[in-house]
């Protein structure tokens, strides 16, 4: 009996030995899955070569994910549900982290990553990488919803950037009445039925002092305030402050119209800045940015977004994978990405970096907006929540459903799905 147990133990040890091959014992390949990075100069080849130089015997293969966020999520779900995912390090949209952690697809980094290692990142992005009190990923790049405005037009009519919904609507009316240009729209945002619309709705909820998910997990904990927020968004379309086609608009559609000089205001992410300030842009030097307006002064907050880097639990090289994640989320790499790819850092110090600020004078401003930004609900059921809400919220925006009914319908459906998860 004892002999057999010893054999078993030896076999297990041998297996464990196989699982983690030390570096240097033949070449090790780390596979890094990420979305294609757009920008003036792709910083990846240089960064990965640098990592390889510092880790002899390690090769990093970088593999592209599908283009859209939906398909990326589908790719991960299918591959991670199988036993051997075939990649070690993965780029994660912030909204997936709790779900993947809950599913057991991510390596728990709590014991490997010291708290002081997380401190240099924005707190809200660390919050999005943390679930159930444990750390599952490191912040890589960041986004925040903000308000772009035509500084030239506002100055012409003696207006300041709007801080409340009312001021924004009044500014649109004043400027459009004065300009008499039928091609000049008021306020553009994202109202197509997709995740981006949910972000816009969340921001409207926050601006009205409420939220989507209560502390006790209740959906729409304050229905009356949620109804007001939705009615406000519908009102923007019904009164013409926003063009009707906002109900088909995603980030790019709205960005292009604003970039062509065809709108006074735009809600979008920081990436727009590089494009409107680029040589040849129709609105170059005429754009300003501000926090999103609130129902009352100071209530507006932009939603944060961006991506984290996580490690697949099935990796055979957890230590090397973590070294790669540390390197890519480190200051050097984030600086290179901010310069070459217009990806905004999660490290607060970089927003005061003289070289970066010289390149992008808006960095200190964006720092403040990122700091005030709020994450979308950090829950493993976020995608369920968003997918269920999307048609209901869209129905409100196009005027097919009164807000109260859409909220009631969404709640009923969510109850069914959430109940089956318990």
């Amino acid at each position: 009996m004892r002999g057999r147990r010893a054999v078993l133990l030896a076999a297990l040890l041998a297996l464990a030995g196989c699982a983690e091959r030390p570096p240097g014992d033949g070449p090790v390949t780390l596979v890094f899955k990420h979305a294609r990075i757009l920008g003036p100069a792709d910083p990846f080849p240089g960064l990965l070569a640098e990592f390889a130089a510092a880790h002899p015997g390690v090769r990093v293969t970088s593999e592209s994910l599908p283009w859209s966020s939906d398909e990326q999520h589908q790719f991960y779900v299918i591959n991670l549900e199988g036993r051997s995912p075939g990649f070690d390090v993965m780029m994660l949209d912030v909204i997936w982290v709790p779900e993947f952690a809950r599913a057991g697809w991510l390596l728990d980094l709590t014991d490997r990553v010291r708290p002081e290692e997380l401190a240099p990142h924005f707190a809200s992005t660390v919050a999005a990488a943390t679930w159930a009190g444990r750390v599952w990923a490191l912040p890589w790049n960041m986004n925040v919803g903000l308000l772009y405005y035509r500084a030239d037009l506002l100055a012409k009519y003696g207006l300041r950037p709007p801080e409340t919904w009312e001021e924004l609507e009044a500014a649109v009316r004043t400027i459009r009445a004065g300009e008499r240009d039928p091609r000049l729209e008021g306020y553009l945002w994202q109202g197509k039925q997709y995740e981006g619309m949910v972000v816009n709705v969340l921001e409207a909820l926050w601006a009205n002092g409420t939220r989507l998910l209560g502390a006790d997990g209740a959906v729409f904990p304050e229905p009356a305030r949620a109804v007001e927020a939705l009615a406000h968004l519908r009102g923007l379309l019904a009164t013409g402050v926003s063009p009707r086609w906002v109900t088909a608009a995603d980030e790019e559609l709205s960005r292009r119209a604003f970039g062509d000089g065809r709108a006074v205001f735009l809600r979008n992410w920081p990436y727009v800045l590089d494009l409107v300030e680029a040589p040849g842009s129709a609105v170059r030097g005429r754009v300003g940015l501000a926090p999103l307006p609130g129902r009352v002064r100071g209530a507006g907050a932009g939603s944060t977004g961006g991506s984290h880097l996580g490690i697949s639990r099935g990796t055979r090289h957890p230590d090397l994978a973590l070294a790669l994640v540390r390197f890519l989320t480190g200051e050097r790499a984030q600086r290179a990405m901010a310069t070459g790819a217009a990806l905004y850092p999660t490290r607060t110090a970089l927003y005061r970096d003289p070289a970066l600020v010289a390149r992008n004078r808006w960095l200190p401003r964006i720092h403040d907006l990122m700091l005030a930004g709020r994450p979308r609900p950090v829950t493993p059921s976020y995608l369920l929540l968003s997918t269920t809400l999307q048609p209901e919220l869209s129905a409100v925006l196009v005027g097919l459903k009164p807000p109260a009914r859409a909220i009631a319908d969404a709640r009923r459906r969510l109850d069914y799905f959430l109940a089956s998860r318990r």
Binding site: Q74, E81, E99, K192, W245, T247, A249, F417, R421
Partner: protein, 290 residues
């Protein structure tokens, strides 16, 4: 049955065995698996795995989003297949009647068919662009909100689908038209049939068989339509372009509700089987009559 016949039959079964085995592995097994899944609460990411009985189906029966998707699927199928049929035959007739440039027209026709649906969707996204879209410009500067208006979004998706798959019907009909002997038309002329009578009495009856097959294929495709609306509208606005397969996709890959998503998939499967069976009966009846 003679010994010879029996031996033949045995050999026939033997020859068919690989096909039957392949079909069993590739369709029957996954089909049965999906049916089984649809009777479970199964959310692997949450460690949920327990028997649900028919509760997903019961939920679907009272689920407005499901009925809206079913209605959208039906509308999309009837509208797009109907238009493809009429326009496809019209294009085929025009092709046959054309003297010059027939090959060029044929190639252009095939181009639309050869294009992946996602590329078509991107193309139409630009055509439907609310401010700079070619379609609104062509319509005299109208500002129709093609993809953002719940009354226009489904017609917009249908139009894109018709553009993409019309060539399929046109090419099949064109091939059949080339096979109609000219004597038939000469005889019709001798009998004093006009253009309309020639079309309804000679051309259409001879096209019937091939059109039924075209409609069968197109209907089964349309009932499972996914990619065009997924890229163009994501199912919106207000879920007005969400088909059953898009709904199943959302359930499976975004909500991760494998049991629930499978139940929607089973409904699509049953629907497709039902329609296929009805068509096959129609086809057989047609053959018996001919």
């Amino acid at each position: 049955m003679t010994r010879r016949e029996r031996a033949d039959r045995r050999r026939g079964l033997l020859l068919m065995a690989p096909t039957l085995a392949t079909l069993a592995v590739l369709t029957v097994y996954p089909g049965a698996w999906v049916l089984w899944l649809s009777l479970q609460y199964r959310v692997p990411a949450f460690g949920v795995d327990r028997f649900a009985g028919a509760s997903h189906y019961a939920f679907l029966a009272g689920d407005p989003r499901f009925w809206s998707a079913a209605r959208t699927t039906a509308l999309f199928t009837v509208a797009s297949v109907g238009l493809e049929l009429v326009l496809g035959v019209a294009v085929a007739l025009a092709l046959v009647g054309q003297r010059r440039g027939r090959r060029l027209a044929f190639s252009l026709l095939l181009l639309a068919w050869a294009m992946p649906a996602v590329v078509t969707a991107r193309l139409f996204e630009w055509l439907y662009h609310p401010a700079a879209g070619l379609l609104n410009v062509l319509l005299g500067g109208l500002d129709l909100n093609w993809l953002g208006d719940p009354a226009l979004a489904l017609p917009a998706v249908v139009l894109a689908d018709v553009w993409r798959t019309l060539p399929f019907v046109a090419v099949l009909a064109y091939a059949r038209l080339l096979g109609i002997p000219t004597e038939l038309y000469e005889a019709a002329q001798v009998d004093g049939a006009g253009r309309l009578a020639t079309f309804t009495r000679v051309t259409l009856p001879l096209l019937r068989g091939v059109l039924l097959i075209a409609v069968l294929f197109r209907t089964l495709d349309a009932l499972r339509a996914f990619d065009l609306m997924f890229v163009l509208t994501g199912g919106g606005p207000a879920g007005t372009t969400e088909t059953l397969t898009v709904y199943a996709y959302r359930g499976l890959f975004q909500m991760l509700q494998l049991g629930f998503g499978s139940a929607v998939g089973v409904v699509v499967f049953a629907l497709v089987m039902l329609v296929a069976w009805a068509y096959l009966r129609l086809l057989r009846a047609g053959e018996a009559a001919a």
